[in-house]
C-alpha cells in the first residue's frame, strides 16, 4: 500500500509551517495578566455571595490539569504528583488528556514556535472557567533559552497566565506554593462578573 495514495506529507508540512508563521506574527506582544482586565469600578463593587463561596470552594479544591508537559519541568510536576509530595490531597491527581475535561493548564516546559499552535489549540478547547500556571523559568520568559531562534519568550505571548512559579525547575514545594496561590485567587472570584 503506497503512502502517497493516502496523504502527501509535504502538503501537511507546508500547511503546518504557514500556521506557525501566522501565529508567530500575531504573538509579538505579551498578553497582560487577567487581573488587569477587570474594570476598577467593578473591582470595588465585588461582594461574594454564599453561592460564590461554595462554587469557588468546589472549583479550587478539584483543579484538574490538562496535559501539556513538553520538557524538564514535567518531571518535577510528576514528582509532585507522586507519593512523596502528594498532589492528591489538593484534589489534583488527575491529569486529563482531553482538554474539555480540564480546568488548569500547568505549562511545564519550554515552548517552541513549532509547538505553539498546538498549545493554543489545547487552551482554546478548555472550557471556562480555566486557569493557567506558568511553571519554570522557560514558561515565564523563555528562561535559559530566551535568545534562541525557535523559542517563544514566555507562555504569556499566547495565553493569559494567572500564576508564575519561578525555578529551573521549581522544586515540588515551590509548585505547591504556586498552586496554593492560585487557590487563593480562585477563592476571591465571583460569578457576577464571570472569569
Amino acid at each position: 500500500m503506497e503512502v502517497d495514495e493516502v496523504y502527501f506529507s509535504s502538503e501537511l508540512d507546508e500547511a503546518e509551517g504557514e500556521q506557525i508563521e501566522a501565529l508567530k506574527a500575531a504573538s509579538q506582544e505579551s498578553i497582560p495578566d487577567p487581573d488587569k482586565w477587570l474594570d476598577e469600578e467593578l473591582k470595588r463593587n465585588i461582594l461574594l455571595t454564599s453561592v460564590d463561596a461554595v462554587l469557588d470552594w468546589a472549583r479550587r479544591s478539584s483543579l484538574w490539569t490538562a496535559f501539556c508537559l513538553p520538557a524538564c519541568c514535567a518531571f518535577e510536576f510528576l514528582a509532585t504528583e507522586a507519593s512523596r509530595f502528594d498532589l492528591s490531597r489538593f484534589g489534583m491527581e488527575i491529569i486529563r488528556a482531553s482538554p474539555r475535561q480540564a480546568d488548569l493548564m500547568l505549562t511545564a516546559g519550554t515552548l517552541t514556535w513549532k509547538m505553539a499552535p498546538q498549545v493554543k489549540r489545547i487552551y482554546d478547547q478548555m472550557a471556562e472557567p480555566k486557569w493557567v500556571i506558568a511553571m519554570g523559568a522557560c514558561a515565564i520568559s523563555g528562561g535559559i533559552f530566551r535568545s534562541s531562534y525557535s523559542v517563544v519568550p514566555g507562555y504569556n505571548r499566547l495565553i493569559p497566565v494567572d500564576v508564575y512559579v519561578p525555578g529551573c525547575p521549581p522544586r515540588p514545594e515551590a509548585l505547591i506554593y504556586g498552586i496554593r496561590m492560585l487557590q487563593q485567587k480562585i477563592a476571591r472570584e465571583s460569578i457576577v462578573e464571570g472569569k
Binding site: 500500500m1 503512502v3 495514495e5 493516502v6 496523504y7 506529507s9 501537511l12 496535559f67 501539556c68 508537559l69 513538553p70 520538557a71 524538564c72 514535567a74 518531571f75 518535577e76 510528576l78 514528582a79 507522586a82 507519593s83 512523596r84 491529569i95 488528556a97 516546559g109 519550554t110 517552541t112 513549532k114 509547538m115 498546538q118 498549545v119 489545547i122 535559559i144 533559552f145 535568545s147 534562541s148 531562534y149 525557535s150 523559542v151 529551573c168 525547575p169 522544586r171
Partner: protein, 380 residues
C-alpha cells in the same frame, strides 16, 4: 453442524474492501513521552506506515552554546536529556578535558563514577516505569519507581542542591566535594535497593499480561540495529554485546568488575530485561566505587576561562539511553566554535517505522516506550 461450516465457508469468500487512512498521533499525547508526533497510516487497526515528526522541543542548544564559555555550557547540557543530567555533564566535561588536555584528580574520578551510576539507576527507573505504564499496569509500578527515584534525588540534593538539572560536574573534576553525610546515606540506599528491584520483579517478571504484550513485539534484528547505529539497551537487547564502558573505557571504568546484560531476540521484553539487569550491575559498580574512594582534591586547578588549543575532540560515554558523544571544535577562544551532540535517542528512533509496521496501535505505544527516548535530547 453442516449448515454452520457452509456459512463459514461462505464467509471466507467475502472480500471486504478497506481503505487506509491517516491518524495523527499528536504532539500533546499522554503516551508519547514528551512532544513527539507520529503520522500513522492505518488499515483498520494495523499500522501500515508511520512517519515521525520531530522538532517540537527544538531549542537551538547547539547554537546557544557557541555564545557561552566552556564552563557556561554545562547548564545547557543538563537540559538536553533531563532525566540523566549527570551523564550529559560527564560526557561534555570529558570532551573539554580531551580537547584541552586537563587532568582530573583520583577522588573526582570516583565521585563522577558514583554520580553517573546513580543517575543510570534513576533514569532506568523512569524508563521501566513508563514502559510498564504503557503496557497497562496503570501508574502502580510507575509510582513505586518514582518513590525509589526520590531516594536517589535526595542523594543528589545533598551533593549539589538540585533535584533535576544538576550542573555538578566541571572541567577538571566536580564543582564541590561530597559532604560527610553522603557516604552513610549511599550505604543505606545500596542496602535497600536490591530488595526494591526484587519487589518489582516479583509481580512483573513472569506476568502473563506483560509477556503477552511485550514478548515478540517490535523486534529489531541484530543487523538492522548495527546498521542504524543504535546504542545502549536498544542495541544490547538485540544481542550485540557492545558497551562503551567495556569496549572503550573512559574515566576509571576499567577498574570495576561488572557484567553486560544482553537480550536475544530484540523485542520489547528483552529491552525491559536489559534495563532491569543494568540497574543491578550499577549497584555492583557503586559498591566497588564506594569502597575504593580515595581522599584528595575534588577539582584540579583550572583557569577561570578555559582556552583550549585549536583542534577538535570527540568524547563519548555510555549514557542510560545509549552512546552519548560530544564533538567539540575549538578555535582558541573562550567559547566553543562548534558544539555538536551525538544524541542516542534520535539515532535509536531511525528504525521506528520498521519496528512498528504490521502491529496494532496499542503495540505501537509499547514499542515506542521500550526505546526510551527523551525529547529534550532528540530535538535539542
Amino acid at each position: 453442524m453442516v449448515g454452520k461450516s457452509k456459512a463459514m465457508e461462505a464467509a471466507k469468500e467475502i472480500v471486504i474492501k478497506t481503505e487506509p487512512f491517516v491518524v495523527n498521533f499528536g504532539p500533546a499525547h499522554p503516551s508519547t513521552h514528551g512532544v513527539f508526533r507520529m503520522r500513522m497510516t492505518l488499515d483498520g487497526e494495523v499500522i501500515v506506515d508511520m512517519e515521525p515528526v520531530f522538532g517540537y522541543l527544538h531549542r537551538g542548544i547547539e547554537k546557544l552554546a557557541e555564545e557561552r564559555t566552556y564552563t557556561g555550557c554545562i547548564p545547557l547540557t543538563d537540559r538536553m536529556d533531563y532525566l540523566a543530567s549527570m551523564s550529559n555533564n560527564f560526557a561534555y566535561v570529558l570532551a573539554v578535558e580531551k580537547l584541552a588536555g586537563i587532568p582530573v584528580p583520583e577522588r573526582a574520578e570516583y565521585i563522577r563514577v558514583i554520580m553517573a551510576e546513580l543517575q543510570r539507576i534513576a533514569s532506568h527507573l523512569i524508563a521501566v516505569g513508563a514502559f510498564l505504564n504503557d503496557c497497562g499496569a496503570f501508574m502502580t509500578p510507575f509510582v513505586y519507581m518514582l518513590r525509589e527515584r526520590e531516594k536517589i534525588l535526595d542523594l543528589f540534593d545533598m551533593v549539589c542542591g538540585q533535584r533535576l538539572t544538576y550542573n555538578y560536574m566541571r572541567v577538571g573534576g566536580v564543582s564541590q566535594d561530597i559532604p560527610d553525610e553522603f557516604i552513610p546515606a549511599l550505604k543505606k540506599f545500596l542496602k535497600e535497593m536490591p530488595g526494591w528491584i526484587n519487589e518489582y520483579e516479583r509481580l512483573l517478571k513472569e506476568n502473563e499480561i506483560l509477556l503477552a504484550r511485550a514478548k515478540g513485539v517490535g523486534i529489531l534484528s541484530r543487523e538492522l540495529a548495527i546498521n542504524i547505529s543504535a546504542s545502549g539497551p536498544v542495541l544490547r537487547g538485540s544481542g550485540v554485546k557492545w558497551d562503551i564502558r567495556r569496549a572503550d573505557p573512559y574515566s576509571i571504568y576499567d577498574r570495576f568488575d561488572f557484567d553486560i546484560p544482553t537480550g536475544t531476540v530484540g523485542d520489547c521484553y528483552d529491552r525491559y530485561r536489559v534495563r532491569i539487569e543494568e540497574m543491578r550491575q550499577s549497584l555492583r559498580i557503586l559498591r566497588q566505587a564506594m569502597k575504593g574512594l580515595p581522599p584528595g582534591e575534588a577539582r584540579s586547578d583550572v583557569p577561570h576561562l578555559i582556552r583550549p588549543p585549536v583542534g577538535e575532540a570527540y568524547a563519548r560515554i555510555e549514557a542510560p539511553k545509549g552512546e552519548l558523544g560530544f564533538y567539540l571544535v575549538s578555535d582558541n577562544s573562550i567559547a566553543p566554535y562548534r558544539f555538536h551532540v551525538r544524541a542516542p535517542a534520535l539515532i535509536n528512533l531511525t528504525a521506528l517505522s520498521d519496528m512498528m509496521r504490521g502491529w496494532k496501535i496499542a503495540d505501537a505505544i509499547i514499542i515506542f516506550g521500550s526505546i526510551d527516548i527523551c525529547m529534550g535530547e532528540v530535538d535539542r
